[in-house]
Amino acid sequence: MVLVLALGDLHIPHRAADLPEKFKSMLVPGKIQHVICTGNLCIKEVHDYLKTLCPDLHITRGEYDEEARYPETKTLMIGQFKLGLCHGHQIIPWGDLDSLAMLQRQLDVDILVTGHTHQFTAYKHEAGVVINPGSATGAYSSITYDVNPSFVLMDIDALRVVVYVYELIDGEVKVDKIDFKKTTQNAN
């Protein structure tokens, strides 16, 4: 039972001041084992804050990040799943499923986590699953102003993943979940 927090596109301090209060009260250290961040934090203080949640932190570079040394893409293995991480501004058209699927096959991962569109989506296709955790602060994106703060918490348990989606809609936290299993020997 491994809990993985996926979030990104915070754009602190340029487009947002901080995470919403309700999100912050839920994110306490000690519960989460890994944090993966799609990028666009943008400053070191946010990095430090995420580090307090959990020491195992993975970040990829977004186009506005002030830290130039984050990698463009990252892959990691958690439980039986291979996760891929990329900010997503590199993949054009932005948010297009087929292009993202291409990146997924390239990285050879089961779950690809990208951002940049600031909209939560979760797609599946033959090669795997693509998740976009949206923007954790609700900052406006290059595409739209209408953004709800959201992030994703994945509960990885052997061959099964339960994805909990946390969204702040009208000041209230709504939680949904998505369930999927990996078929064994999925050698795509």
Binding site: M1, L3, S25, M26, L27, V28, G30, K31, L97, D110, T121, A122, Y123, K124, H125, E126, G128, V129, L153, D155, D157, R160, V162, Y164, V165, Y166, K174, V175, D176, K177, I178, D179, F180, K181, K182, T183, N186
Partner: protein
């Protein structure tokens, strides 16, 4: 060790803590003299109401190495003497009856259960009420309890993901495995999370929140289990045997904490659990030894039920709490040995809480070596007056036995003595404790 080596000042009325002329022998059953302080040489008898016979002490090798402190006695390590064997036989005979006479078993056990036949485990199980007195019922009772324990383990040790999965499985049986495999294309369907059952939930009823709160307790239990009896290979070390024993202890404590939210886990419970598990696990009967974990759990619950108020912090100052028990010990000492009481509490200001707290809450497991504490527990569990009363009497006896040193000491030396209680002849200790009962009755 030869009996002549005991200095003769040991051999006087101070042991009996009252007038020396009282002939105690007649008032005590014949078996008790077997446990009397052995090495008092016959020629010096005045108050030596205690018969000087080479006492058949059922001493373990550990006790026989007890060093000769100035006022300690030697444990004579005669492994088998006639009295021992006869008691062992008597006990075995009792245990093999169809309907066991508990009064008789208690009487025999209160003098110490001999190690030879490995019957201690069964005796303790009987004394704690785990096994019924009717022998024929044993298999069914054991099977029932053991399966109940197994069920506890399954239910209570699940982590929340599994719990959620089970709930879903029962709710949506028509879905194939309630999960979409990664095939096909399209947006993944979302389902709403009910009642705040998500991992970051801060709600009190959320299984996730409870899980994370339990994690703290589990960490504490883990730390304590690792520290239990580091000198014994049974519990510590890298062998798989030791690890499995530690695991068993841990699981028992976790399940106890989950089943008793009022008291949870308190440091020290591991020390009370350790002798129980050790004895049961070393049961020569293989089936019993394999199921030691389940048996220990129920016996632990039973034993702790008598003493659980000592572990509850809110009850500290109440009538049933630890403070009042310590006060009772103090009263008992005052009754039996006013001079010592006065010296300890008034003159040298040794507050009984400084030493008696550990004696009482941990049932004397930390004051004596492991094997000796088994003998003390034999008496503790078998006494018809109940474990708590017996415990107080034994503590009082512990004080009386070292009274000379206490009377001669000041605060520092007394505290040091009582917090590192010197090793003594256990049978003598229990004998004195027994006499305290006789006295207050008369």
């Amino acid at each position: 060790m030869a009996k002549n080596e005991v200095p003769d000042w040991l051999n006087n009325s101070l042991w009996s803590c009252r007038t020396p002329q009282q002939p105690l022998t007649p008032s005590i059953e014949s078996e008790d003299t077997n446990r009397s302080s052995v090495n008092l040489p016959v020629p010096m008898p005045p108050p030596a109401v205690i018969r000087a016979e080479p006492r058949p002490e059922i001493v373990s090798p550990l006790n026989s190495s007890s060093n000769l402190h100035s006022d300690d006695e030697n444990g004579s390590a005669t492994i088998s003497s006639t009295e021992d064997i006869s008691r062992q036989d008597q006990l075995s005979q009792e245990l093999s009856r169809k309907i066991i006479d508990m009064v008789e078993v208690r009487r025999l056990a209160s003098q110490g259960v001999p190690d030879g036949a490995g019957i201690r485990a069964t005796v303790w199980k009987l004394l704690l009420g785990y096994l019924p007195t009717e022998r024929a019922l044993w298999p069914t009772e054991l099977a029932k309890k053991r399966s109940q324990y197994k069920q506890f383990k399954e239910e209570l040790l699940m982590n929340p993901s599994e719990i959620a999965r089970r709930l879903e499985k029962s709710a949506t049986l028509e879905n194939d495995g309630t999960g979409t495999d990664i095939e096909g294309k399209g947006v993944l369907s979302r389902s709403e999370v009910t009642q705040g059952e998500h991992p970051l939930s801060l709600g009190k009823s959320s299984i996730w929140n409870q899980f994370f709160q339990d994690t703290e307790i589990i960490e504490q239990i883990d730390r304590d289990v690792k520290r239990t009896h580091p000198d014994l290979h049974f519990f510590s070390g890298d062998t798989p045997f030791a690890k499995s024993n530690q695991d068993a202890l841990r699981i028992i404590l976790i399940i106890f904490a989950k089943l008793n939210p009022g008291i949870r886990y308190v440091q020290g419970m591991n020390e009370i659990l350790a002798p129980l598990f050790y004895v049961f696990r070393n049961d020569p009967n293989e089936e019993d030894a394999a199921n030691a974990e389940a048996d220990t759990f129920f016996c632990f619950v039973e034993l702790l039920s008598e003493f659980r108020d000592h572990f509850c912090q809110q009850l500290d100052n109440s009538v049933v709490g630890i403070r009042s028990t310590i006060t009772r010990l103090s009263q008992l000492l005052k009754e039996h040995d006013e001079e010592l009481w006065r010296h300890l509490e008034v003159t040298t200001n040794v507050n009984p809480q400084f030493y008696a707290f550990r004696w009482i809450t941990l049932l004397l497991t930390q004051e004596f070596n492991f094997a000796d504490s088994h003998f003390i527990w034999d008496t503790l569990l078998s006494d018809p007056e109940g474990p708590q009363e017996t415990l107080l009497r034994i503590c009082c006896a512990m004080l009386i036995i070292v009274r000379r040193r206490l009377l001669a000491g000041d605060f520092t030396s007394n505290l040091k003595l009582l917090q590192n209680y010197p090793s003594t002849n256990i049978s003598h200790l229990l004998y004195v404790a027994n006499k305290l009962r006789v006295k207050s009755a008369g």
